[in-house]
């Protein structure tokens, strides 16, 4: 730790993802040009978050102050279906699509064996435990990303959980994005869209 508080701040900021040393310096100098109150307020937010935010005991979503996250607290949610997502951002994306009324389970990652991220690093044990204890759950939607790692994670979860409980399990659909021209879709999405075509007349 440097004795110069500016350098120390630059070092701390450059630990953040996507922030190199030059950007960290720019951010630090920007903060120094602001009113002290703004900097103190950011510091308070960080302390607040470090002290009060933890994982929901049910779904591993993040929650502040309470044991249960805001989704798990909501009384209107469908208790029978759980969407398994890889991260909070994906949960937020599904929430803002307003097309899902069930609850979630957040894995906090996808399997990346080459980076040392195995099943024990994800919240898969917590999901097993939840399925065993919560009799209301009847369906699992595996909503991990449509990437190689996301597919592998979904497959792993399917194989692991099918022994745990008799459940309906599904995988989110992939294909061409809605509202886009076919010519601009990437080749993989296009070939997936053809492969996964839906019969509309028998």
């Amino acid at each position: 730790v440097s004795h110069d508080p500016i350098l120390r701040l630059v070092n701390e900021l450059s630990l953040l993802p996507g922030i190199g040393e030059r950007t960290a310096l720019r951010l630090a100098l920007h903060l120094l040009e602001q009113k002290k109150e703004q900097v103190m307020s950011l510091a308070e937010s960080l302390v607040e978050v470090a002290k009060n935010v933890r994982e929901c005991t049910t779904c591993c979503n993040l929650t502040a102050y309470a044991e249960l996250c805001t989704v798990c607290q909501k009384p209107g949610r469908d208790q029978s279906v759980v969407a398994v997502v890889s991260c909070i951002q994906d949960l937020m994306a599904i929430e803002s699509s307003a097309s899902f009324r069930g609850r979630y389970h957040v894995l906090h990652g996808v399997l990346k064996p080459l980076n040392g991220i195995g099943p024990d690093r994800l919240r898969i044990d917590a999901l097993k435990h939840r399925l065993t204890n919560d009799v209301a759950i009847e369906e699992l939607i595996l909503a991990t990303p449509a990437t190689v790692e996301g597919e592998a994670t979904a497959l792993f979860i399917r194989e692991t959980l099918k022994e745990v409980k008799a459940l309906k399990m599904s995988r989110i659909a992939s294909g061409v994005p809605v509202g886009g021209d076919l010519q601009f879709a990437d080749r993989l999405s296009l070939s997936r869209a053809l492969l996964m075509r839906q019969q509309i007349i028998e």
Copy 2:
């Protein structure tokens, strides 16, 4: 201010330059995945900086704990020459070139009349004051950037200060970057390099 500490942190982070809401969310969630100690340490750095960093009373560079910045404190610096720079980063760049032994004056910006940044927003009065009081200063190197605004700022300082004190004043050279092929230099730098050509034989 939001009641949800995560949203509050996202809001605070998105006030930083070049950080949109999506990046702010990514940074906040990254911080939440870290050990509490790392987040607290970043918070402490911010408090430390907010409390202890201020402008050097002589040159307006930033300084921690002391009245004078590290450059002004150094005994070996040439007291007769002052480089006027627009920002801390430029000061750091000149320092790391190890080609200047004088002292600095940091303006904290360049003139941008359209954005409401007039002479009163820069540290020009402090420079005037400094020139009046410090008899050792004999030369001013105007090292503001070679941009329209940087040139205008240099011109303004020249006009303002020539009444204050009889001084040698110079402007840093601009031209083609050293070590680069001419074909890759931008047109403005190239035309400046031709215009500012140095006679090598009479």
